[in-house]
Symmetry: C2
């Protein structure tokens, strides 16, 4: 069993959380990791449609995601959580519950997010969506995230490389035990490209 | 990674679900399985306190448990669900979502359950608890469960042996790959006791 840990993607709606989560999951699976994505929007739609976006409901959502993530981590699964999670205090609580925890802040100017998710932000600006982070609700920037990705400045692929490099440097990825033989060559090439071999 | 599957314990409050779940988890861990218990009462208390016991809320509870169980099964975890789950239709839905699925019906006369959980049933009989299965809500007996345990007729240990035997016969437990070496002798003895060696 490889080691479970959490990669927590936080940032404004439109900052790229879902995209990064999916690409990262693919890459980590190539390393032989068992990976699950808990995408807050998707999980809300599937099983937590009772929750809105008030601070209380957001907290409840994180509490539930944390419970699920913990069950997975302790069974060796790498869990990628994609959640706006705008409040510092709530993210601190989540971190205390989930170890190891890698906080990744997807930093992206509001104007760029608005361009990417025009319809959503337009509805929020027209007052049709309550508690829209960035418009009617605050986003508290992380103070000490493990990784900051300026998603308007780099490609998704570059962002993924940054995350993988940090994971390797923190010994979360153990190339000598984590991957299956059939992927060995692929991983060797990757490590070479990253300057490890 | 060993194979994930679900053992679904259904039965009246007081039929022994929590006790069986805990003992069974211990035994399965000795076989080298990764095991998680989703005890409905406990999960409700921790993260689903918004749900009551109306038919709708019970359905919602099962939907959420099913989502969590699926994430675990597909990562090789054996999930033991302990939930009254009184309705046949809802159990059929759950079975359709969770495969492999082993339904274990903990059959126990209501009078015995009442003796075991006197306080709870007393409150229900006094009308202080709405939707109490066995008192004010129906329990629909399973028609084709994989296993029926008459928990007033046998000890918990005997019940566990019955479940283990069925799991072995269904090839859910693979003794030659599932356990760690340090447990090998223990497992050998168990298989011998069960008449397999």
């Amino acid at each position: 069993m490889s080691q479970g840990f959490v990669i927590w993607l936080t940032g404004l709606p439109g900052s790229g959380k879902t995209t990064i989560a999916q690409l990262l999951a693919e890459e980590l699976r190539r390393f032989g990791c068992a990976v699950e994505i808990l995408d807050s929007d998707e999980v809300r739609r599937k099983i937590y449609s009772d929750l809105g976006f008030s601070r209380e409901d957001r907290g409840e959502n994180l509490k539930r995601l944390t419970f699920i993530a913990n069950l997975l981590i302790r069974n060796g699964v790498v869990v990628i959580v994609a959640a706006v999670s705008p409040y510092r205090a709530e993210r601190a609580e989540v971190r205390a519950e989930l170890q190891p925890f890698v906080e990744v802040y997807l930093k992206c100017p509001l104007e760029v997010c608005i361009q990417r998710h025009a319809k959503l932000y337009k509805e929020a600006q027209a007052g049709q969506i309550l508690h829209m982070t960035g418009i009617s609700d605050p986003y508290e920037e992380p103070e000490n995230p493990e990784i900051v990705l300026e998603t308007d400045q780099s490609t998704a692929e570059e962002a993924i490389q940054r995350i993988l490099l940090t994971l390797e440097q923190s010994n979360y990825l153990k190339p000598d035990q984590a991957f299956s033989e059939s992927d060995e060559e692929k991983v060797r090439q990757r490590l070479e490209a990253l300057g490890y071999l």
